[in-house]
Subunit: 348 residues, 2 copies
DNA sequence: GTGAAAGCGCTAACAG
DNA sequence: CTGTTAGCGCTTTCAC
């Protein structure tokens, strides 16, 4: 059923009551209304109550847009992400939005779909919208035009678990990926694994680089252990291909670490196809928890962190920057959570 | 390390180049600049190129805020959700944002944390921000003050899988929960189940009501089958409690349907504690897919839908409303996906 | 303490 | 076709 003849009339209260009406009704100047509502102190109590009465009577609500126009502050923050449907990101977004909202800010979410060009467009568009600041979970830290675009930005920016070398744009909230990864590697080593593979996301972003570095550092200290790092993209397809390739070789790794929950899906698909049992045939550890990870059979060993806290801290850092307050770079912990998907390697 | 002495100087290009500078440089009137940039047709090509040159030379970017101030359109949509970290919601949000952005709109996300009072505050705040429209995934359709707040709204609203009786506020995009649920019930019945329980979310929102209705309708047509509906909240705690209670009884159900992915977590926890095997001891079906559901052991039977499409269609509907175009109410399909978590009931 | 006036950066009549 | 003018709704000097 199609609704015919949609209304052509202007929207109902397109004539919202403004400050002018309030001033008239209270019999005062429009600037006095502003003063009262802005909580200015030099206003007589008589004035205050007259204005407040009029406000209540008319149901007046200040227009945030007009305020922004005058003050230059939009009280709006942009959060540019690769893909909000990624559970890690959406949890970060929740933490960020909650903290921002408590401070009176609204959060615009934009998805770059991992396209650095689109990301640049978004940054520019958000600047034109005069957002007061930005939270960036960049798709590609190495993109050539990025630095220029960020340098041009007049508002404070906080990078969320991202790092641009030699570029100080104020805020940065990181996860300390190495320690969690090291714990996981040591656990595998203690179980007897001597061939371990990390199926890693894109090294164009910090988390993957840090994880790869942790593996390399581990390898350097454990000459008896062969470590492989396959870096690619945060996709199931990559996880699948890399797993098939790694396990199809004669000298197959006895343990796999998946570098993200998207990659994990591909790894699991490949393992299922290859009919390999976890942890009997191959041990499996993944990065970043999912709601169902602990209910898998076997329950998945996971390198954990607190994404809500990450988002919240990123927001707090941005708020501090907006207030010209001193900030300190944060490095939030990660840790290895043993469950049931790691075991000694199969006898060969 | 704390950074001392934060900059007290005003932000770098706080003196952005405006239309005025462009007009001066091009030697034309400011309104002519506006015309060229707005793609007005009655402009000479000489004028066009003069202006465009100046724009390019100065790197001028129109101020969206000021445009909004004049036109009354903010090109901003608010999406009010219970909790963006819910994977179902974040997928809907992705679909909505993608469609809105393609039409030039930005999306503000606000989390109500399932608090109807907070939700009302958000609605009011978004009105003050003059968002051009709202996408609402209400926390509680039955909240008394809600109707008033919505009626007062001057902008178009689209409810996302929500329904308010007798209130026509334009848009509504729904999921057709009943058919998927019916398929699932029939499958269970065919397997021989005669005692089935739905652990349902809050009946203050449409999806849970529809699912409960589907169960009741099924029960009416199958006198041989005992159906139980436990409605509560979309939380793991509720899922856990309800499962323990239902399975602790003498006449325990032989099949459980979980009404959301949050509830599912609680159900799984309870089943694990009770040491009940799926599907040997009890069959399990859940609503709305998760990335890992198919990799569980057993793979989880799921009543599926396309949340991205739901978000995208909701956005399209809102866009149509904004253009005063005719819209048609949508009812997107759900379907039962058999995997491996349903089987004949255990012999008694 | 309060009012009058000047814009924030842009668009939309209205003349010419 | 183009320039002039008048605001959108608010905040903020600046006088009184």
């Amino acid at each position: 059923m199609t609704i015919k003849d949609p209304p052509r009339t202007p929207r109902p209260d397109s004539a919202r009551t403004g400050m002018r009406e309030v001033a008239e009704r209270a019999g005062v100047a429009i600037s006095s209304v502003s003063r009262v509502l802005s909580g200015h102190r030099d206003v007589s109590s008589v004035m205050r109550s007259r204005v407040l009465d009029a406000v209540a009577a008319l149901g007046y609500e200040p227009d945030i847009l007009a305020q922004s126009m005058r003050t230059g502050e939009t009280m709006t923050i942009a959060f540019i992400v690769s893909d909000i449907s990624n559970p890690l990101i959406s949890e970060i977004a929740l933490g960020a939005e909650t903290t921002l909202r408590a401070a009176g800010y609204a959060m615009i979410v934009v998805n770059s779909m991992n396209d650095p060009d689109l990301e640049l467009e978004h940054i520019s568009l958000m600047r034109r919208r005069r957002t007061d600041g930005m939270l960036l979970s960049l798709a590609d830290e190495t993109y050539p035009d990025l630095r220029g675009a960020l340098a041009k930005l007049a508002v404070p920016v906080v990078l969320v678990d991202r790092h641009l070398k030699d570029l100080d744009l104020g805020g940065m909230v990181l996860s300390e990926h190495r320690s969690g990864m090291r714990e996981a590697l040591e656990r595998l080593h203690a179980l007897g694994h001597r061939s371990i593979a990390l199926i890693n996301g894109s090294v164009s972003v910090r988390p993957s680089r840090e994880r790869a570095n942790a593996v390399r550092r581990f390898a350097k200290h454990h000459a008896d252990t062969h470590c492989t790092v396959r870096s690619g993209s945060f996709t199931g397809t990559f996880g699948y291909d890399a797993t098939r390739e790694l396990l199809g070789r004669a000298a197959r790794p006895t343990a796999i670490i998946s570098g993200s929950n998207q990659i994990l899906v591909g790894v699991l698909r490949a393992l299922r196809e290859l009919e390999l049992k976890v942890p009997e045939d191959v041990s499996l550890i993944t990065c970043d928890d999912s709601a169902l990870a602990e209910f898998m059979s076997p329950a998945l060993d996971t390198i954990m962190r607190d994404p809500n806290e990450l988002g919240s801290q990123a927001a707090s850092t941005l708020l501090a920057l907006l207030r010209y307050e001193p900030i300190e770079p944060l490095n939030l912990p990660t840790h290895y959570q043993q469950r049931a998907s790691s075991a000694p390697p199969p006898p060969r």
